[in-house]
Symmetry: D2
Subunit: 488 residues, 4 copies
């Protein structure tokens, strides 16, 4: 079944979109490692459930050690060794990060998270850190051996993640050349990281998002003690490959990144990286689920033939495969667009705003596609799909994390609407799509958007979903159908 | 928030559709019990995971005891005590079963399964069992105290559940007044039942579905020994309130129900009951997920107000609530239709075929609605939705079982197509809807179906999904919008 | 097998020693409840493992809810309803507490802990609390319905439990009529209690045990907020029926019990109650393990007969049964002795010191006996004994908790030695035993103790174990063999 | 603390007794691997609990795959790569097996089991297998790479393991050059092995042990299908590094080893190897527990000094360390004695009977010592010892498996008595000990044994325990105190 073969290889499927030079051999080797060694490790980690936290050693000293099986650490380090972070700075390009990440997420979507937050730590440090800070910390994050430091990006607190301006209660107090943070982070991913970027409000800063600043917080104090404690690791429905939990900052040593007025921009720049990573991971997961479904449907028989050969299932498969290519095109476009603007600092240019719209469209569309595809793949398996004994049950659980991480659909729609309202990002989008799209369809889409933006604000919000979904689909399909121009 | 209040009560929400007389007081008391006592039990059972099987007692005797916490058994017996089975035979009506079941499924969709398979055992026994068989077994199933026997319906084997004609390899050998079965059942729900109906092929019977017969198989042999063994309990993504597993039939004593030529009809009659139950449970679960989402969204604040008061979320909620009523109308119609035909024996009349089409539409539509609604409810919770700490994560898992149990969407579409092709069931449907529906919409729908059925068979199958989905939506919305006539 | 029958009933076995009037009917009913209802609950709770902590509700409010199955709470409340605490104050006697506790511990040794720490809270409150404190809190602890408050006794911190004088770092600051505590308690049993007694050091108090005071700390502040938080529930090898964990006291409201100089005496009085309870529980557990072993050994056959009928096993059983009666006599003596002195306040009389020696002997001897008996019972089961499928594996795990709770053997020996050195408690013991014991054996024992106490201090310690063990055995066997006089 | 240092290294501690030439470098490297890599794997495997069985692949084919994390397999293969089996045949000596095994068991007592049963398969195959059988199977067991086959020794059935003569119901039917087995094995260790030796009764053979024969049973049939199925993996209190479960033999292909009359001798020869391995593992575990206790007690402080420096604890430690050397001497003697007789075939000479007595003494004494030492080590840890967070809790659980595996104390005593009664093995023992022991003590021991054997049989059994314990202690201490001569 030739049309199925490409589905089995994430590097083959993503190559046209993300480009694979100059890393083709690296990608192939990494993919081979996953097939032969990584896969059973990932499966065992998922099956073992939430990892365990050893809070104290036998001498009663607080240590907060995250107890994964040793296999886990090998699997985790593998990506760092392949240069998933280091290549970004070597090549001054984000694309190696998304290429390697696509392969990672095909096999373990949760594992892409530590890499993403590590990059989300390294980038602002490199862009906004003082010379002294960079000298002290940056090289640790760029290693490709077992001594690498991991990063983490801790923003959200107990009252919610969307409205950071209201909900961040962590306070920062300046003293000498550094700061002390006090507060609790509620959704802190990659708890074991050696270095984190953390949102906090300097004493005396105004309320709202404008008063937030971004800080660098190492795991250990200068005197070697723990700089913060882990309250607990959370039991999540999936992504057990990344320890997510709660952090208690208590006079934790910290260093300011950038200026204290710029915090919100820096936070959004961190989010840019992870939103695109989420889109990439969503497409990879959708591909995986389809591969799983096809594998099964080619072997399972009913009424005298393989179930994939039943016309309805075959039709569903073909439509979904076509849609998968559109999702890939959209996520790839967002990645390449970010690659053009990620070095910008505020004030940003129009390309940056166009990227933001693309990122919202991509995050929204690919996550939804992944969730629906994993659901479909589970249904293809029938009753077997509901059993923890077989892999598809896991992909279904993983998908919902991707749907919620980095902002739910609701958030993407509203933020996408805002960047159209305030920065007219849709105009730039239409300009980019004009040479590729069918003229009438494009005109129709332009008119709908223009008309929508005329409505009173509440009405714009009320009716935003259909418009946004259609815009995402239109963009994705246009990019898919004219890939050559799309990649420029 | 008045528009939300009804969502919190399954009996209130379903009363218009399913009717609540003469059981209103019973329903209210049962619902109260769930709120005050049943809920934490159900939650604890889900959290404890797959129950455990004690295979041998300390003397080395095989016992196959399913080790739930005692609480579980109290919760399970509660429904029987309320007469979920007994009332069916007292009132000669299935509606009490669906009314009580709706409340059960709102709180624990998996728990509705034991009741459903118990009814699926009692009905064929009562309809097709010999006098002697009924005398011996029936009263055990109709009790309302702790001595009640549970039933179970075991059809599927390792090679798959859709194509029973090919895949049932369990063989039945006649000897004297009873039979001996040998074979393995792979998806056997309610493993602890005292009595099961089991599909098997009598020696010498033809291949295919026409050669299947239905047997009654008690848990214990006449000499008190186990009549079959449980190979294992399966780890499923949800419905931990029902032990599902594998059964090894080894010279297991059995009694034929009906004639050996009629087996396939009896099997389908059992499926009728459970397909409608699945539809009812799907609507109940969707209501529950919405109630959960509204509860949360009314308390969670962002940007200065409860998130439910944000226009986009409010819009999504209202649309979904409207759709919930359509789903209720469709599931209710299937239940009431079954209530008119369930006493029929082959050959069946046209009403029976109309019911079959309705059942396929309802199973398909409501399960999909439940899955999407639970996904939405999870997203409303944001990151909290992914944590096992809060209830919505469970509803999301439960929904996928409903989507797959009793045949996936794929199966419903194809079987629905067949009953239109072979029995013209759509014509009866359109006649029923004619007085209720918009004339033009109806005419359009009729034309599409007629045209579809002209296509070559493979093409009919290839293109069936959109047609079937539209037919389901049309039927559901028509019934919702004209409830008075719909209930006759 | 008549010699085995008594083993099956804890109330029957303990009646001679603990006396069963005036509670005989209550005890019988309670034992019946365990056999018919409590046992499967206790088994399910153990199998479910460490309970789970829900830290926040969906609104983000810290709640620290301990998630046991509802069954657990019924089982727990059963003992309170039988008056395990209330009867102590009604009858002004500890014996009802030990009688009911014996039955509890026979079925679930861990469950006896909540009752013990509840009594350990009520007693100092009643003895040392101000009128206002008692008016406010005491009646809550004495209820026999579902509104009862539980108590807890939290002393130990991370650096260890034996040397409280050095290791208690929790500080108490006085303000107005109450105090504020700050510190972490590391082994805090019965985390869900509504009221705890807590060891802390008032600001300005001297170091060492003399500087400790005992405080009453409710779960909720006067304003209804949590008065402290639970850091986590610990995974223990056994006693899963009591949630043990870590408590974070942060400006927690507290009330001083007694004077600030008396703390160490109050702490030791609390320990008196629980050390005797531990002895009672150890005997009960040993009885249970023997009952389990005999049940099995009477049914299991090898070489043509029940294994209990093999001479070596029968001999082991008989010796152990004889030893069980000695252990019962010793634990019962400690209970009755405490019952005579528990109302004393410092300075204490000689009877109190005699009690202390008896308590150390009983705690040491019975815990060791329980551990060895559970090991033996496991070996009687052979390979089956190592399986979690059968009960004996649990008794083996439970025993080790009893061996360590309330001070290991090491601690009992040294503290027992001290009370002989400083208070000459052995002389009182020998006076009590003189009318009962063999004259020569007694003389020999007296001489050995006298000689031992002549040695230099380090040498006394080095050689203490054999002496202490022999003294315990001598006391236990003497009391067993002359029960009439022993009970006075 | 010099007296503690040797405790930390199993190779150092065992070297004097087991000899370490010519493998010293191998042993050192293997020990280093454990310290740096193996330890966290072993800990993770224990924490993950009982492994999981995947019974069917997605195509519905029975596969019975044991789902350990991949780490587990690396850890397991490590010992094979070091030649734990292969060196036995290369060097024609069992000592490499016991030397490497001692290091294994120090770190993971359960892991020594797969090696032991692999050797227990290879030895009878090599000794009693036909030329054709050996050509076909033996080399697979002797590899030192990842393609090695594991062995397994399955004797016990549901009714019990001591009285195989009565309880083995597995039947063997001869057909052509091989046999077919039918029956269920209840305690089958190392379920994933490629080859097993299995006790069964040929059709027509007499009852009792004399009718048993030993068969070689591969995991796969000649046609590549599974030759038997795994019913389940058992949940045990410890040794989670070896999958133990139940095997269903259904017309399983098998080959007879030796003659059909000799089976019982072959079974006992297999037991010889594993009884000594159990003794070696017991000493290793005791050493480990002591190392753990000393590590802790050197760091934990109370009353102003490390708790190991408190006289009573220090005394306990020294006595126990002295006893550990005696246990090592006894286990080592059994190993060396077996090394002299393991090539014998029936009829055996006196040396063989002396070995049997030594094996019973060693199995009995070392297992008891390990259990008591692990209990003591747990108590040294106080409350921390009861937490699953720290290692000592595991050693305590592991010890009870060693106490029961290969026959409980009861079994060793009775079988030891029998070999004294029937083969006068004690006389040979005394002759060996005469040059080493104190003359009076030896004479006293001889007289006691002689006198004991004069008693009526039932009385001998009734009173056997003290005698046997004293004989074991006397032998162990004599061997310890004269190591030079003891090793000859």
């Amino acid at each position: 079944m030739n049309e199925f073969a490409q589905l089995m290889s994430p590097s083959a499927f993503s190559a046209d979109t993300l480009g694979d030079t100059p890393d083709a051999a690296v990608l192939a080797a990494y993919e081979h490692w996953w097939t032969t060694q990584g896969q059973p490790v990932s499966e065992a980690v998922d099956r073992a459930g939430t990892p365990w936290l050893r809070m104290f050693d036998r001498a009663g000293t607080r240590i907060d050690e995250i107890c994964y099986p040793p296999d886990y650490w090998s699997m985790l380090r593998k990506g760092y060794r392949e240069g998933i972070i280091a290549r970004v700075f070597e090549q001054q390009s984000l694309l190696p990060f998304y290429r390697i990440g696509y392969i990672t997420a095909f096999h373990d979507p949760g594992l892409y998270c530590p890499y993403t937050v590590s990059l989300g730590t390294a980038v602002p440090l490199e862009k906004y850190g003082s010379k002294a800070l960079k000298a002290r910390f940056l090289s640790h994050l760029l290693r490709i051996d077992g001594t690498i430091w991991q990063g983490a990006t801790w923003m959200t607190e107990i009252k919610g993640g969307s409205d950071l301006g209201t909900n961040v209660e962590t306070a920062a107090r300046e003293q000498g050349d550094h700061w002390y943070l006090n507060g609790d982070k509620y959704f802190a991913s990659n708890l074991g990281a050696e270095l984190a970027v953390v949102a906090a409000r300097p004493e005396g800063a105004p309320g709202g998002v404008r008063g937030l600043a971004l800080f660098l917080v190492p795991r250990l104090k200068e005197n070697g003690e723990l700089n913060y404690t882990i309250r607990r690791i959370k039991d999540k429905i999936a992504t057990r490959s990344v320890p997510t939990g709660e952090i208690e900052l208590r006079n934790s040593e910290a260093w300011l990144l950038g200026s204290r007025e710029q915090g919100v921009y820096l936070i959004l720049e961190v989010l840019n990286i992870s939103r695109v990573a989420n889109s990439i991971a969503s497409v990879a997961l959708a591909q995986r689920a389809m591969a799983e479904a096809v594998f099964f449907a080619s072997r399972r028989k009913a009424f005298g033939k393989a179930i994939i050969d039943h016309p309805l299932l075959l039709q569903q498969f073909r439509e979904r495969q076509h849609a998968l290519r559109a999702a890939m095109a959209l996520a790839g476009k967002a990645a390449k667009m970010l690659n053009e603007v990620w070095r910008q600092t505020p004030p940003y240019d129009d390309q940056y705003h166009l990227f933001r719209l693309l990122a919202h469209l991509a995050k929204y569309w690919t996550a939804e596609f992944a969730a629906q595809t994993c659901k479909w793949a589970m249904e293809v398996h029938g009753g077997l799909g509901t059993l923890t004994e077989y892999p598809v049950e896991r992909w279904f659980r993983e998908a919902m994390i991707l749907s919620i991480w980095e902002g739910t659909a609701h958030r993407q729609i509203l933020d996408g609407l805002e960047v159209m309202q305030r920065k007219h990002a849709h105009k730039l989008l239409f300009e980019q799509l004009r040479p590729l799209a069918d003229r009438n369809t494009l005109a129709d889409m332009e008119a709908r958007v223009a008309q929508h933006l005329q409505q009173p604000p509440d009405e714009q919000e009320t009716n935003a979903e259909t418009l946004f979904a259609d815009l995402a689909r239109f963009t994705a399909e246009t990019l898919r159908d004219c890939p050559a121009q799309a990649t420029r």
